[in-house]
């Protein structure tokens, strides 16, 4: 029987180690607080497992190198924070359009601009969805603990490989820097997914010719398929095309890969929601304060519950819509001026009012603040 391995880990460390367990073998990055430990740890760990680490000249180059490495069939990741995440957006869009699997970790800090580099924030929620130009598919996952960071980053890689889509791993400074107990899962029990490679002869390979308009198989560079990858809109053979039906089909297909799996991808946790009259909707480190607050509120006789969002995008619409018919109010605490609240409002369809609880001073939202906010609705 495998020995139970229990470690005290930092969130960024759990991210790095979980990524290796998921099959990560290439990391390109650039130092930036509060994500730097991920690069430091991987510079030590990746060559130990036969992988490669490179510190690139800038954030843009890191994203580019990750896409290049992934094209050779290697699982690849980069990690950054606010300003770096902004710089990565163009090449992130390239990965989304060309359907190159990759994982981008954003350990959120307070912005905009250089902001408060060492302070937590959750202000990149909308950027994570819409940061690059044009209609593009993306999946965004956000862990709520160090232990979950380890297992969720593995899911991030699996989704990225299976759907040929970039996955944003949206941490925040608190989750990144906090230390907690992690029970390391037995590697034999982990589900690790690899992209589907073509098996047909080269002459028949259509790199973007997906069966049933879904996810096409992807050939590794160097495997003899000799295909063309371009950031221009392209036909099923990968060659550039102009305006028209084929262009529309491409954009619709790459977005549909995610849309048609929205329910399956939607991960969330409901705490004390069975009979809740007020739903606190939150994600990341703020959800920890929310859960603590809900328990305190129960003691005080207020029926509060928490919906903790794990898959931020595609947003778990149904759980909010369902709750909207049962609760008398939503309270949405978040370390920004109300980005998650907008989504909750959209999905509640007017079923219950949505109260924002924002904090943008670079400090955590405390359970007391949430208790007070819930009592006030």
């Amino acid at each position: 029987m495998a020995e139970r391995k229990v470690l005290l880990m930092q969130g960024n460390e759990a991210c790095a180690e979980g990524a290796i367990a998921a099959g990560l073998r290439f990391f390109a990055g650039y130092p930036i607080t509060p994500s730097t430990e991920i690069a430091e740890i991987l510079s030590e760990r990746l060559p130990q497992v036969g992988g490669k680490f490179i510190q690139m000249e800038d954030e843009i180059a890191s994203m580019a190198a990750v896409v290049g490495a992934s094209l050779t069939g290697t699982k690849a990741m980069t990690a950054t924070s606010g300003p770096g995440f902004s710089l990565k957006q163009e090449n992130l869009g390239f990965a989304a359009l060309t359907e190159v699997p990759c994982v981008v970790v954003n350990v959120q800090r307070m912005g905009p601009s250089t902001g408060l580099p060492t302070s937590p924030a959750q202000g990149d929620l909308m950027q994570a969805r819409w940061g690059t130009h044009g209609d593009h598919p993306i999946v965004v996952l956000s862990p709520g603990s160090v232990a979950e960071t380890y297992t969720l980053i593995i899911k991030a890689f699996n989704i990225s490989e299976r759907l040929r889509v970039p996955v944003i791993f949206l941490m925040d400074e608190v989750i990144g820097h906090m230390r907690e107990k992690v029970v390391i899962p037995d590697p034999a029990t982990l589900a690790v997914v690899d992209r589907v490679r073509p098996t047909c002869p080269r002459e028949q390979y259509l790199p973007y010719g997906a069966v049933d308009g879904d996810v096409p198989p992807m050939a590794d560079f160097g495997s003899g398929y000799r295909w063309h990858v371009t950031g221009l809109l392209h036909g099923v053979n990968g060659y550039p095309i102009g305006p028209g039906k084929a262009s529309e089909e491409l954009i619709v297909r790459i977005n549909r890969k995610i849309e048609r799996r929205a329910d399956e991808l939607a991960m969330y946790e409901e705490v004390l929601m069975d009979d809740a009259e007020v739903a606190i909707v939150s994600f990341g480190s703020t959800a920890r304060s929310a859960i603590y607050a809900a328990r305190q509120l129960r003691v005080a006789g207020v029926k509060a519950g928490v919906i903790r969002i794990i898959t931020v995008w595609p947003f778990p619409e149904k759980v909010i819509a369902k709750a909207a018919g049962r609760v008398r109010a939503f309270v949405v605490p978040e370390m920004n001026l109300g980005q998650l609240a907008l989504e909750v409002e959209r999905c509640a369809h007017g079923g219950a009012p949505v109260h924002k609880l924002s904090r943008v001073d670079g400090e955590l939202i405390t359970p007391t603040q949430i208790v007070d906010a819930v009592k006030g609705v």
């Binding site: 030590e44 490179i54 580019a64 490495a69 050779t72 495997s223």
Partner: protein, 277 residues
């Protein structure tokens, strides 16, 4: 169609987007002939580019090809080469792509001495966007964004990459296709970061705007303004004015980046991992 063209070009991608008289086709021809001369494995050769007229070349070439974002070809190529060192990686880029928006990646790829060959199609202008001045537009020349003449000083790209650490540097022109082919072949054979500046002609935007003339006039201009590198020393400063050296400009042997990673980093990492167990 020659055998080389049939073998290495994607006939179904023709015709090219390049204007009549553009020098880029000659340079792409030199690259495939160099690949043929070396007998590279077509399945293990990757061609990477950025954005611009030159960067459309990989689309016409029958290899694994990657047409990336503006200026970033070398950063993508670095990921490919480091992840799979078995692959021969060639970057085709233009003067705007390599020297302006991609300048940082160019000097850092040179600094690392990573085994990638870069061929810069230098036509002294942004052709794709119809004729704005680039960092390679000579001073005093006109462009759509330099209606009063260009006051920017151009780079000497070969000197730049040499100073940054490139270990093979050469220059040729679209008027010297045979010499260019040989230099590209030598650059690809070189183990380390190699750079070939290939002077191209853009009659449509650079030539017309600056009244240099049509495509043959531009080819003649390249012949008249280039001097073999070994002959430059013999010229007086007056004779040298306005001329550029062509041929092999710099060759040296330095440790190559991926080799260093494989030979230095990985054994040390494995040793540390073994100790920890």
């Amino acid at each position: 169609m020659s055998e080389v063209v049939r073998k290495y070009l994607r006939a179904d991608m023709m015709p090219t987007i390049w204007c009549p008289g553009c020098g880029h086709g000659i340079i792409m021809g030199a690259v495939i002939r160099a690949i043929d001369q070396l007998g590279l494995d077509q399945n293990k050769t990757v061609i990477v580019s950025g954005i611009g007229c030159a960067s459309r070349a990989p689309g016409y070439m029958d290899f694994d090809t990657l047409h990336t974002t503006h200026g970033r070809a070398l950063a993508f190529a670095t990921g490919i080469k480091l992840a799979n060192p078995e692959l021969t990686v060639i970057v085709l880029t233009g003067d705007g792509d390599a020297a302006a928006i991609g300048g940082n990646h160019l000097i850092h790829a040179a600094r690392r001495n990573i085994d990638i060959t870069t061929v810069c199609f230098n036509n002294s202008i942004y052709g794709m966007t119809s004729g704005q001045y680039s960092p390679m537009t000579p001073k005093g020349y006109s462009a759509t964004t330099a209606p009063y003449g260009n006051i920017d000083r151009p780079f000497d790209l070969c000197e730049l990459v040499k100073a940054a650490g490139a270990t093979y540097v050469a220059r040729s022109t679209a008027a010297h296709p045979r010499a260019l082919t040989d230099l590209v072949a030598k650059a690809i054979s070189h183990h380390g970061f190699s750079f070939v500046e290939a002077i191209s002609g853009c009659p449509t935007y650079f030539g017309r705007k600056n009244k240099i003339g049509d495509a043959p006039a531009m080819i003649n201009w390249m012949k008249e303004h280039s001097v073999p590198a070994r002959a430059v020393e013999k010229l007086t400063p007056e004779q040298r004015a306005g001329k550029f050296p062509i041929g092999e400009l710099y060759v040296s042997e330095e440790p190559e980046y991926v080799d260093e990673y494989v030979n230095v980093i990985i054994p040390r990492a494995k040793e540390r991992a073994a100790k920890a167990e």
